[in-house]
């Protein structure tokens, strides 16, 4: 397996407070990797560092063997990394169609964009029904499907998902989990999934890292972690 992403020993600060102190993770091609941990453990900061939304203080991020540090957020999409941000961040006043087309913003191959759009609409039939509807009028779950579709419109090699289950009705969380599994199966894409819903994240990923206050506390095969007592105690319902 070749590594598509490796994050090496990064440190990241907000003002003078550290969010990450020496975190290393890697993602192999075709793999789904989960980052779990409590609120404020630094999960989202890792994604922000990868996408260039936040500069890292030290350490480096390699994507397909090349450095990503200092690459702008808009350039990173062109290199094949798409992010579904926390809180969905749909374009509220745009139609589903325009939201999806924004996902293909960096692409110029018109005919192939049509093809990708068709694939996304087939994957999420709900979006076809709501194609001309304004995004803000849809439910949280539908919007989540839409922003995942929007990210796929860029035909990414690496898909970053930040808390896709946050604020979604429990029944729809399952749908989203299934969609992530299906995407990983059908597309040539590696997935880095950040989730507070550790049970869901561990059940659909190959490997996982558990973060605690800015560093990796545990890592390993997701199945093993699911049965790990420490994980059970800390992340799967027990008290910390």
């Amino acid at each position: 397996m070749t590594k598509i992403l490796s994050v090496e020993n990064i440190e990241l600060y907000y003002d003078h407070i550290y969010a990450l102190k020496g975190v290393s993770i890697d993602v192999d091609e075709g793999e789904t990797v989960a980052l779990i941990g409590a609120n404020g453990a630094g999960k989202s900061s890792i994604l922000r560092a990868i996408t260039g939304l936040r500069p890292v203080k030290s350490g480096q991020i390699l994507y397909e063997g090349q450095k990503l540090n200092g690459t702008s957020a808009s350039e990173i999409v062109r290199r094949g990394i798409s992010m579904v941000p926390e809180g969905r961040r749909a374009f509220p006043l745009m139609s589903v169609k325009d939201n999806l087309l924004m996902g293909a913003f960096t692409r110029t191959d018109k005919a192939e964009i049509e093809q990708t759009l068709e694939n996304v609409l087939t994957r999420f039939p709900r979006l076809r029904e709501r194609y001309h509807q304004q995004a803000s009028t849809m439910s949280g779950g539908e919007q989540q499907m839409m922003v995942i579709g929007r990210a796929l419109m860029a035909r990414p090699k690496l898909l970053l998902l930040d808390e896709p289950s946050l604020g979604i009705a429990p029944k729809l969380v399952q749908d989203i989990a299934r969609a992530i599994v299906a995407i990983s199966r059908d597309e040539k894409v590696s997935i880095l999934l950040v989730e507070q819903n550790s049970r869901m994240a561990l059940s659909i990923s190959n490997r996982a890292y558990a973060l605690s206050t800015g560093s990796i506390a545990l890592s390993g095969n997701s199945k093993d972690l699911m049965n790990d007592d420490r994980i059970k105690a800390a992340y799967l319902g027990g008290e910390i």
Partner: protein, 289 residues
């Protein structure tokens, strides 16, 4: 009655075009461009220079205004607003900068074009007369139609072009737009250039009817702000609604209230104060905060 509506529509189309430029800049960059009126005046003088002094056709003058103002807008954004937005966390900074740009442009206009009122000769002659119910010179009709056409083109551009879509995305969620690959710096500049271009175009249109002079900049900015406050700042439909509403109010006021002296704007301001007390976000806007 028909006359009042026709006048209102004519005025409203110009106003809506000015308000669209202002609201575009506001929605993309959160900048209140106090220099918008000056940009409009500048556009008028560019058309005047090209048509009267160089003797070229009106349409060339109009294009020249659009191009000069677009370049000016891009430069002002890139070298003045962008650095301030990047360094300052406070909205007041860009407001002060915008006010400074307004004074600066006033000075530039004085320097290049002088303090005299300037106009260009009528581009078409004759008066349209519908049974004495609507009387309107053909040149006003032409300018009104051109303005409406430009509004339609602008809306189509914002809705159906890739650039327009990117600007809407940027206005609605900057971070998400970045994640889609939209280069914020570049599209802020394009938006500012486009907003300034619209102001310049209206200046170029109106110089054929009312002429322009140095003193018009400030009052025009204030009118433009009135419009986007009526309609709701940062919303395209709001700018258009605000423009036409102000145009209508002015038209009605000038006809109905003229017997009581020049009190149209007094009444408009008083009405607006009451309206904003009830609905501070304007007609189409979202509540701020």
């Amino acid at each position: 009655m028909e006359q009042i509506i026709a006048n209102g529509l004519y005025l409203g189309a110009q106003y809506a075009l000015i308000a669209l430029g202002l609201t575009l800049i506001f929605s993309l960059m959160n900048v209140l461009n106090f220099a918008h009126g000056q940009m409009y005046v500048f556009g008028g003088f560019v058309t005047y220079t090209v048509v009267v002094q160089l003797g070229l056709p009106f349409i060339v003058g109009l294009f020249a205004s659009a191009i000069v103002l677009a370049i000016m807008g891009a430069a002002i954004e890139k070298f003045l607003f962008a650095p301030v937005v990047r360094r300052s966390k406070r909205d007041e900074s860009t407001m002060l900068l915008a006010a400074g740009v307004a004074f600066f442009l006033d000075a530039v206009i004085l320097l290049f074009f002088g303090e005299k009122q300037r106009g260009v000769p009528k581009i078409v002659n004759g008066v349209f007369n519908w049974d004495m119910r609507i009387i309107m010179p053909y040149d006003r009709i032409l300018i009104g139609v051109l303005a409406i056409l430009l509004i339609v083109v602008f809306i189509a551009f914002m809705n159906y072009s890739k650039t327009g879509r990117a600007m809407r995305a940027l206005a609605q969620d900057k971070m998400a737009a970045q994640l889609m690959g939209v280069n914020v710096a570049r599209y802020s500049m394009i938006g500012f250039a486009l907003g300034a271009m619209l102001a310049g175009l209206v200046g170029g249109l109106l110089v054929t009817i009312t002429g322009v002079n140095l003193g018009m900049g400030g009052p025009t900015s204030i009118k433009a702000f009135l419009m986007i406050m009526i309609g709701g700042a940062g919303v395209i439909s709001g700018a258009i609604a605000g423009g036409f509403i102000l145009g209508m109010m002015e038209s009605v006021g000038l006809t109905v209230l003229s017997a009581y002296g020049d009190i149209t704007y007094l009444v408009i301001f008083a009405t607006l104060m009451i309206f904003l007390a009830v609905r501070p976000q304007g007609l189409m806007g979202k509540p701020w905060g």
